[in-house]
Amino acid sequence: MWMSLESCSSACHNQYHESSLNLKAINVDLQSDAALQVDISDALSERDKVKFTVHTKSSLPNFKQNEFSVVRQHEEFIWLHDSFVENEDYAGYIIPPAPPRPDFDASREKLQKLGEGEGSMTKEEFTKMKQELEAEYLAIFKKTVAMHEVFLCRVAAHPILRKDLNFHVFLEYNQDLSVRGKNKKEKLEDFFKNMVKSADGVIVSGVKDVDDFFEHERTFLLEYHNRVKDASAKSDRMTRSHKSAADDYNRIGSSLYALGTQDSTDICKFFLKVSELFDKTRKIEARVSADEDLKLSDLLKYYLRESQAAKDLLYRRSRSLVDYENANKALDKARAKNKDVLQAETSQQLCCQKFEKISESAKQELIDFKTRRVAAFRKNLVELAELELKHAKGNLQLLQNCLAVLNGDT
């Protein structure tokens, strides 16, 4: 790739902070406290992977130093997330959703196509498009950094998860964790596991819950999750159309410029001014699209993942309830037969404890989830409205200025 992605990423260095702050804000209560502060201080994009510099500041005694950094890749984040999910002790918590894999394929393809088509367009057009694509690349880069950071911050903010040993290793161990991505066999295993889980989930969800709170939450989450999924997809499409329209403005601006420079009548000044207008208004439209993406699409996507995590929690609880009920039945049977009663009793007690533990923490988790959600939506919707207003006013100003000039001329 002659077009260096590295140069893009180093440009990202100081700029991703803005969007990471945005995404962190999606979870408002992630106030960093002195005990443990985690952030991604740097990121580098290489051929086909992204290297994140995870920076920790902590006063906890578990760590050797108070401040340190390590370099991590996406697979290592996934490893950490999966270790949480598989840990029985954490069954009663909403596990912060894993960050999505960095996906620069589309952007890379476009950059490549641009490089190939360099000969067929004018220098101005080429520069414009190159800038456009670089900005796009930058935006994707910023987002992926932000999402990885939010994951870490959520873990760091969770009273139980932050103490996890794997988490500390992740933060501190300054060598490669030798965590490789799942190979085909493991991926297949995962696939089957998921199938079993969802089938089981259906069976388990058939069991009516005595507890009103959980019953309500279950119905709510199911519907909510589906609707968020739909809204997130539609918002994505809307944002993309917006971007396409903004790109058209770009081309129109270029054509008008060409017309303006070639025309022999006095309309050439006119064309040049309108071309300028389209160029400027296009920048604003692109920002509108980007802000909608950030404040609306990303918000919805994040809560899609979180609501899935919440659903998973409910599933685990239901599963443990079923196990508990089965254990009860087994105990009754054992008592009736007067065989292996002690074994059944222990088993039943374990199940009971597990179930109660999960229920207790789950309740709190779900309440927290709602609080977080409401706060996040509020913040983002307010910011969305404010940004839309700002851009519309900017656009209006541009248009009115241009019209004043044009009308003054004619």
Binding site: Y224, V228, R237, I252, V374, R378, L403, T410
Partner: protein, 521 residues
């Protein structure tokens, strides 16, 4: 017909006193000239065309044309005398008018007062009105307004058609009323264009092209599909027809044409049958167009006038640029429509999400968001509408207009070709004569002499025609350029104003939403 006018001295294209009787040819030296002479030129040119019977002019039925020509001839028989009487009056006009640089003649102010005072017979009014136009050729006051409205379906099945109401508001006295309307169908418009094109195109007038046919579009309408795409199609056509008529009446020469007047005024119009795409005449047209294209490639013209070459190049560039811009604008329209649809889908989805949200305040806010997005979707739709009808259609109109301009340049080339051919034939005839002289065959010599005289006249005519068309084109291009500048400026400003409106609405909507979002507790 050729006999009725004495050909001027050979090789001398310069105006002489004698030529004042020749329908004001000496007015070539003033901007006044083209309009003055234009009544003569179509008829002159058609005269020569008819004499030579060149089959390239295939627009519209021939018989009707001939009749018209005869009428014209008579008109000018009378007018000739009037002109000479008035020539003293002419002088001031001649001297005050600027030189024939491409100064466009902005036409038409009220003609009524002058005409009333003279109370002359029709043919002279025809001529006189041009004079008035010249004298008041300054303002942009254009006192005729055309509207095309109320499309309604007439008939059933495949014979059905759309009838449009054409309303004219004017204070020009050449019309009998100041406001009137008629019902016309699409083929009537095509017929009108066809007639105008056949009369004026080949002498260098840029006749605005009529909207394009669309078999698919019309079939849907005929079949009675009442969906949005057929209503859109009808609206697109209605708007295009309106713009077509408005452009046509803006042209000072075309405005004077009786066919145009008949089109606007008379309640019954003979059906133009040769406009159907698949008719015999239609196919003939296509064949001839192809033949023209081939001919064009083989004509190698000695361009003595750099202006023409320059202009042709300019129009070529303009054509390319406009096409590019048009493609981009069409893409914008498409994406804007997409955006509108996606916004509507999102609005519904957000409403659903609001419904399932169990936190009351957030639920309400989400519903409000859905409402805002729905209103914004409407905005996008309206903006797409504006994108299309103002910007995109303007560009496609001009792309077709430029094709007409190019056609006019081509006609000039053909004219030149004819002149060349005549000169070559004359040369051959002279050679023949020489040969006959040598061979001493008295009867053949006489025939040769006759033929020479005939071809001398044709060469004369050819040269005159060529100069005529060249001058007409210069004027027309000037007028066209001025119109183009005006058109683009007006439409683009209107378009920008539509964008302003959209932003203002957006501001309103988001300002209303903001407190709702803040109210989430």
């Amino acid at each position: 017909m050729a006999a009725e006018r004495e050909p001027p001295p050979l090789g001398d294209g310069k105006p002489t006193d004698f030529e004042e009787l020749e329908d004001g040819e000496d007015l070539f030296t003033s901007t006044v000239s083209t309009l003055e002479s234009s009544p003569s030129s179509p008829e002159q040119a058609t005269a020569s065309l008819l004499a030579e019977d060149i089959g390239t002019n295939s627009n519209g039925p021939k018989p009707a044309e001939v009749v018209l020509d005869d009428d014209r001839e008579d008109l000018f028989a009378e007018a000739t005398e009037e002109v000479s009487l008035d020539s003293p009056e002419r002088e001031p006009i001649l001297s005050s008018e600027p030189s024939p640089a491409v100064t466009p003649v902005t036409p038409t102010t009220l003609i009524a007062p002058r005409i009333e005072s003279k109370s002359m017979s029709a043919p002279v009014i025809f001529d006189r009105s041009r004079e008035e136009i010249e004298e008041e050729a300054n303002g942009d006051v254009f006192d005729i307004e055309i509207g095309v409205s109320d499309p309604e379906k007439v008939g059933d099945g495949m014979n059905a058609y759309m009838a449009y109401r054409v309303t004219t508001k004017t204070s020009l006295s050449m019309f009998s009323k100041s406001e009137f309307s008629v019902k016309r169908r699409f083929s009537d418009f095509l017929g009108l264009h066809s007639k105008l094109a056949s009369k004026y195109l080949h002498v260098g007038y840029i006749v605005p092209p009529a909207p394009e046919k669309s078999i698919v579009g019309m079939t849907k309408v005929k079949v009675g599909k009442e969906d949005s795409s057929s209503t859109e199609f009808v609206e697109k056509r209605r708007a295009a027809l309106e713009r077509y008529l408005q452009r046509t009446v803006k042209h000072p020469t075309l405005l004077q044409d009786p066919d145009l007047r008949q089109f606007l005024e008379s309640s019954e119009l003979p059906r133009a049958v040769n406009t159907q795409a698949l008719s015999g005449a239609g196919i003939l047209r296509m064949v001839n167009k192809a033949a023209d294209a081939v001919n064009k490639m083989t004509i190698k013209m000695n361009e003595s006038d750099a202006w023409f070459e320059e202009k042709q190049q300019q129009f070529e560039n303009l054509d390319q640029q406009l096409r590019k811009l048009h493609a981009s604008v069409e893409a914008l329209v498409c994406h804007r429509k997409e955006l509108s649809a996606n916004t509507a889908a999102f609005a519904k989805s957000a409403a659903m999400l609001g419904n399932s949200e169990d936190h009351t305040a957030l639920s309400r806010a989400l519903s409000q968001l859905a409402e805002v997005e729905e209103k914004i979707d409407q905005l996008h739709q309206e903006q797409a509408f504006a994108d299309f009808y103002m910007f995109s259609e303007l560009l496609s109109d001009y792309i077709r207009l430029i094709a007409a301009v190019k056609g006019v340049f081509d006609h000039r080339m053909k004219c030149w070709q004819k002149w060349e051919d005549a000169q070559i034939t004359l040369l051959k005839k002279r050679e023949t004569e020489a040969k006959m002289m040598v061979a001493n065959k008295p009867d053949k010599i006489q025939q040769a002499k006759n033929e020479i005289r005939e071809w001398e006249a044709k060469v004369q005519q050819g040269e005159r025609d060529f100069e005529q068309i060249s001058k007409t084109i210069r004027k027309e291009v000037g007028r066209f350029e001025k119109e183009r500048v005006k058109d683009f400026k007006t439409v683009i400003i209107k378009y920008l104003e539509s964008l302003v409106q959209t932003q203002q609405q957006l501001i309103k909507y988001w300002e209303a939403f903001l407190p709702e979002a803040k109210a989430i507790a």
